[in-house]
């Protein structure tokens, strides 16, 4: 028993005092309560289903949703990544691996700068989709997109290489929603500490 009701700790205003009162004759029949319950379930029977049929219909996501990564190409179709390793360094989950290589004379149309990533892998099981790689990238080469990482039955299928990550030449992936002019200006702003 609580000696003084003033000292009672109230965590929420929803708490109800449980009464142990004896039920009336009608209540003890239980039938009204049963019909009440059946009415509730029947009302749900005619309600709109909340199911989203996943592969065909997708739940709308935010403009800056952090999903599957993309390695961008520049406007001439050359890979932007220079294998500087800042993304791998910034990755808290250590999901990114890369091997740098030197661009040959005949590869001018493939890579934007003299150094490029001959191997670039992200382990999607390690990745926590924090977006630090995107923030760290000085070349606007890696971005997170609103695409999902599909399920697999083998663990090694989750290690995504350049064949999946680099955007196809004929179907560029739009990142304009997250890379707005304001964001770009902030990234290049020399007065900011991250550019000093």
């Amino acid at each position: 028993m609580i000696p003084n009701s003033k000292n009672k700790i109230v965590l929420t205003k929803r708490s109800k005092v449980v009464s142990n009162k004896t039920m009336t004759w009608i209540e003890r029949l239980y039938l009204p309560a049963i019909f009440q319950g059946m009415a509730i379930t029947l009302s749900h029977f005619f309600k709109k289903e909340v199911t989203i049929q996943y592969p065909e219909v997708q739940r709308p996501v935010s403009d800056i949703y952090r999903g599957l990564h993309v390695l961008k190409r520049d406007d001439q179709g050359r890979e932007r990544c220079t294998a500087c390793g800042l993304c791998a360094l910034s990755c808290p989950a250590e999901a990114i691996t890369m091997i740098a290589a030197e661009r040959k004379e005949d590869e001018m149309h493939l890579y934007r700068e003299e150094k490029y990533a001959s191997l670039y892998e992200i382990n999607m099981l390690r990745c926590i989709f924090c977006g630090n790689c995107e923030t760290a990238c000085p070349k606007e080469a890696i971005f997170l997109t609103e695409r999902f990482v599909p399920s697999q039955t083998k663990r090694d299928k989750f290690i995504y290489g350049k064949d999946v990550l680099v955007e196809p030449k004929d179907a560029p992936i739009d990142i304009s929603k997250r890379q707005t002019p304001e964001v770009l200006a902030f990234k290049k702003d020399k007065t900011q500490s991250h550019n000093k």
Partner: protein, 342 residues
Amino acid sequence: MDIQFVLYKLALAGIILLVSLVIAMYATLAERKVAGFFQDRLGPNRAGTFGLLQPVADGVKLFMKEEFMPATADKFLYLLGPCLTMLVALLSSAVIPWGKSINIGGVDYSLQVADINIGVLYVFAVVSIGVYGVMIGGWASNNKYALMGAVRAASQMISYELAMSMSIVTIVMTTGSLSLNEIVAQQPGIHWNVWTQPIGFLVFTICVFAECNRAPFDLPECETELIGGYHTEYSSMKLGFYLFSEYINMFIASAMISSLYFGGYNFPFINDLGLSQNVLTLLGTGIFFCKIGVFIFLFMWIRWTLPRFRYDQLMRFGWKTLLPLAIANVILTGFFHLLFKN
């Protein structure tokens, strides 16, 4: 008895068997669909349009599962359990009048396999055997959960059979016949037994729920306590038989409720339509199946609404509420019958 008659009855029995199986098959789909709708979901809809091939997929899945038998199980009884359950579930459809009669070439063909004059008794006898399927299956598995489920099933079915029989006694008193055909024939138009026997109807329906082991009386197989109850040790199609016979039971029980209390194939304005006998019979059969559908829906509706009884509540409810209620109903009906009918 001529050969034509025997052939007709055999064909009719075959058709009814087939129809029962198909309806039970699609009742499994309906159950999952209805459950989905009650929970604001869609239910299965990937196998065929509207999930129409789902029962086939389920069947194939059950057939592909490993056929497992516990090493300590009694082989013969272990096999007998599901067979008996299935057999008994299908047996009682023989006496249900599915329709009036069809006239072909001046000969009336009744849409009832066996119009035996003790139809109601026959149904009770068959239903009582139903408990053996569950009991034998649970006992032969040699598993504590299975045995617990079997014991529960046996006590539950025996307890609720009493009240069920008592509620039918009133029908027999007012009708003056044990033949199901006669009982249905005495409810023309909208003069259904449910208007004169509302208490009997309520008691009968509740008891039928218990007899079919359906929620809220699904104690014999309650997954949460007994991990499947009497069919814990069953796998593959033997488990399928148990699960499937539940839906056949549901179908037969709905047919019994409809024919005992809701006029079976009778429907209002049956004689004002001016149709030929054959068309009327087929229409009546259609109406009968609609009524059955409504009651199958009721079974599912209750299942997805009410929680399961506790064991002591189940027993108290059966013995201390339903049985006295049914007996009082018999006495009251007898009293009014004597007072007003003579």
